[in-house]
């Protein structure tokens, strides 16, 4: 009975929520009611982090669901921010539009290159990452560009309902939209099918090239939106360091149940994964634990998931069990004779 419940909780569909609940419980226990963790302030900072990391993780997660890996999300994150800040001085909507459009465009181009030339996504998105990052440097002149429209910055970050800001609300809305599309439209079904078995989907009649290009366009758009919102809210844009956002986004997607080999995952799961990481980060710092603990815990969880999902794990366990049974049988017969 316990085994069954345990297995259910660890199953990929439920796992992200289990881990998130676990994080909350553990942090709550450590906090021991002193109110640092379970406070609205902590929750607000969690949601602020969610706004940036979440959208990037969503984009990356979508690309992983079709069995690819979009390295360029990190580059788009910084580039879109620069574009928005530079062009959105007078009209913030224009800047946002241009930034997101850039994301869509870069996704389309990379998707086309991948499908027409039949290249793997690692090479193409690596080139994309370097190119986009380079463009960010060029546009910003390798300096921090400030955004003159302070009211926008303040407006985006102002808390309402004590928990959310406009930024995090937008992020949540995007997640909601993605979740609805994935669950209730055939687009979502086709994405999962393509990731699950691309050959079979093609034979069944899907245009897998189109789906791949679409996914990469969505991924670009999502990370672009994240960059735009963050830059606006900071009132400045700078070409952000490469590693800063890619690894946490991948970690969030994987904790969120997305499988690297495709065919598995959902926006809801990714949201849970992102929340877990944000809860850990904000919660740990709220409690007063040194920041390195966050990295250690994240790394530990990821390692655990990596081994748990590994294909050979089951085989080794079965082989070990059979070997043990055979050895027992052998000593038994030896004892008899």
């Amino acid at each position: 009975m316990i085994q069954q419940v345990g297995r259910f909780l660890i199953a990929p569909a439920a796992r992200p929520f289990t881990i998130m609940a676990g994080a909350v419980v553990v942090l709550g226990l450590i906090d021991r009611g002193s109110g640092y963790f379970f406070s609205l302030g902590t929750l607000f900072s969690v949601m602020q982090l969610f706004a940036s990391l979440g959208l990037v993780a969503l984009g990356l997660g979508l690309s992983m669901m079709v069995r690819e890996f979009d390295l360029s999300v990190a580059g788009m994150f910084s580039l879109a921010g620069c574009i928005a800040v530079i062009t959105g001085g007078a009209n913030p909507w224009l800047g946002a539009l241009l930034g997101v459009a850039a994301g869509v465009f870069s996704g389309l181009i990379q998707g086309l290159i991948m499908t027409r030339l039949k290249l793997s996504s690692v090479g193409v998105t690596l080139g994309g990452l370097l190119t986009l990052q380079g463009l960010a440097y060029v546009l910003s002149g390798n300096q921090t560009v400030s955004y003159p429209n302070m009211s926008v910055a303040l407006g985006l970050n102002a808390p309402f309902a004590q928990l959310l800001s406009v930024r995090s609300a937008v992020a949540l809305a995007v997640f909601l939209l993605a979740a609805l599309v994935m669950r209730y439209t055939y687009v979502g079904r086709d994405v999962i099918a393509t990731g699950s078995d691309r050959r079979a989907s093609r034979v069944a009649g899907l245009n897998t090239d189109q789906i791949l290009i679409g996914v990469f366009a969505a991924s670009g758009a999502s990370s672009a939106l994240a960059g735009v919102l963050l830059s606006y809210s900071l009132g400045a844009a700078s070409p952000v360091g490469l590693s800063d956002v890619l690894a946490p986004a991948a970690a969030a997607a994987i904790v969120g149940g997305v499988s690297v080999v495709g065919g598995r995952g959902s926006p809801a799961g990714i949201a849970a994964g992102v929340l877990t990481l944000c809860i850990l980060r904000s919660g740990l710092s709220a409690i007063g634990v040194p920041p390195y603990v966050h990295d250690l815990v994240t790394g530990g969880i990821l390692l655990f998931i990596a081994v748990l999902d590994a294909p050979e794990l089951a085989r080794h366990i079965t082989a070990w069990r059979l070997d043990r049974a055979e050895r027992r049988a052998q000593t038994f017969t030896e004892k008899l004779s």
Binding site: T185, Y186, R189, I192, A200, S201, G205, E326
Partner: protein, 496 residues
């Protein structure tokens, strides 16, 4: 009026004519079988009729009108559906989603009630009334998956269904279910084309049968007018003659002893004693367990149990290292995935298992390796000039020779296991491979071959073991048995 027909169709790949002047007509309310040995041209003909290939000569007609079928989508619009051996279901999706997958007429919100009802109706038609629409495909047996795929075709208003080896891996119960589904479809006016090796099934469910041999149509007959023997003659007409080397077998003591081999869920209680210098063939169709047995002996199965002795010494199962040190050598049926290193050169492939002998203190003696590679290439008949070319540039037959050449000259002859050694190999290379096999025998190897090609089994074996669904159903010595008997054994006539 014929629903779908081909007339005078010829198809060439390079210099080979795979189909020669084939004419065939299909009517409504008919279950029509297409039979033929490997390489006879069945799958090419089917691909032409379903829009994957275009014929070089000849005409394809739909409803008596000449039509050029552009691609599979076009075929779908014309009502032609193919259920291939490799199913096209996405494991991560539910039954409902898979049924509508790829269907152009599905609206954005694709799980509407009306679509659910249609899917339910299709499932009922194929006899899957007890299957929930939301069940994940990954939990279904292959037989049920096949039926789901047929249901998918129904929702696409297919009129002509091509089923390629639909029952290869099914249990008897599931086969009956498929038959029932097919009979229902036929009663509704559909046409079914049933491509199979299994002659018993041709007579069980089909109305007529066309036989292909070497790319030519031998004939089309109603099943009521011929019998099994007749059909086999049509299929296997040519002489066995020059393909197989003649030899004198010199058995020299038991080399391989297998007791109580179990490989769940397929193989149960397999026993065998094979001698040095002989070829033992395990004959069986896909799903019979023949391939599984040899893979288990090679150490590639994680769940095999049993007692195996090689050259007098017990060998551990479930470990490739143990198999290697027991001198068990294995040639896989999956050449591209497991047999040959496609991105490495021919020479590197040939010396793949010889590295240890050419190493001192971890360093390879490269000149000596190249010599060895050249010698091996000569021994198997691969052009030495291609030693540095990547292996994926070779034809299937030459690649298979690489898989063989790898084991020549290894220190001590032991057991050589091979699964489907001539699958996807052209006729010319096949004769060379058979000669190689006999060469191994003469060197003292104990050769065990698993094959679904009966002619090959009869041409090569000193000893034949027939497998059906994981059980041994027959064991014969050379000369004791003929093709009809073997075919009967592996196709289990007891369905009647």
């Amino acid at each position: 009026m014929s629903v779908l027909a081909v007339k005078g169709v010829t198809k060439r790949f390079g210099p080979n004519a795979v189909l020669k002047n084939v004419s065939l007509s299909l009517d409504a309310r008919e279950i029509h079988a297409i039979c033929g040995e490997n390489g006879a041209g069945k799958s090419t003909l089917v691909k032409i009729m379903t829009g994957l290939y275009s014929p070089d000569e000849g005409v394809v007609s739909v409803d008596d009108k000449p039509t050029a079928i552009q691609n599979p989508q076009h075929a779908q619009e014309l009502g032609i559906a193919l259920v291939a051996q490799e199913l096209s279901l996405a494991p991560a999706l539910s039954v409902l989603d898979n049924i509508w997958l790829g269907n152009r007429k599905v609206p954005l919100f694709h799980r509407r009630k009306s679509l659910r009802m249609q899917a339910r109706a299709a499932l009922d038609q194929v006899g899957l009334s007890d299957l929930s629409l939301d069940a994940p495909i990954s939990g279904l047996s292959i037989g049920r998956r096949q039926l789901v795929e047929i249901a998918r075709m129904l929702t696409r208003d297919a009129r002509v269904f091509f089923l390629d080896e639909p029952t290869a891996t099914l249990s008897d119960v599931e086969i009956e279910r498929i038959f029932d589904a097919l009979r229902t479809l036929k009663a509704e006016g559909k046409t079914i084309v049933y491509i199979t090796h299994r002659l018993g099934e041709v007579f069980a469910v089909c109305d007529s049968v066309s036989v292909l041999r070497n790319g030519e149509l031998v004939g089309t007959r109603p099943t009521s007018e011929i019998d099994r023997g007749h059909l086999m003659e049509m299929m296997l007409g040519r002489s066995i003659g020059e393909m197989y080397p003649t030899w004198q077998s010199k058995p020299a003591g038991a080399a391989l002893t297998i007791k109580n081999l179990h490989v769940p869920p397929v193989v149960h209680d397999f026993n065998l004693v094979a001698e040095r210098g002989t070829v033992t063939c395990i004959a069986g169709q896909i799903g019979s367990g023949a391939l599984t047995i040899l893979r288990a002996l090679a150490g590639l199965s994680a769940v095999a149990t049993g007692e195996v002795t090689v050259l007098g010494k017990p060998m551990r199962l479930r470990s490739v290292a143990a198999a290697r040190s027991a001198n068990v050598r294995f040639i896989s049926e999956d050449r591209a995935g497991e047999g040959v290193f496609l991105r490495l050169s021919v020479g590197q492939n040939l010396t793949a298992t010889k590295l240890r002998e050419h190493t001192t203190w971890g360093v390879l003696a490269r000149a000596k390796l190249r010599e060895t590679a050249a010698k091996l290439a000569g021994a198997v008949g691969v052009d030495r000039a291609r030693l540095f070319s990547p292996a994926d540039e070779l034809s299937g037959g030459n690649q298979q020779k690489l898989a063989f050449g790898r084991w020549i000259g290894s220190a001590q002859p032991g057991a050589l296991l091979m699964n489907e050694p001539t699958r996807g190999v052209d006729v010319g290379a096949r004769a060379e491979i058979y000669r190689l096999v006999r060469g191994f025998c003469d060197q003292g190897y104990c050769v065990v071959m698993a094959s679904s090609d009966i002619e090959e089994v009869l041409g090569m074996a000193d000893r034949i073991i027939c497998m059906y669904r994981g059980h041994q159903v027959g064991s014969y010595r050379r000369g004791e048995v003929n093709m009809h008997r073997v075919l009967a054994d592996i196709t289990h006539p007891a369905a009647a």
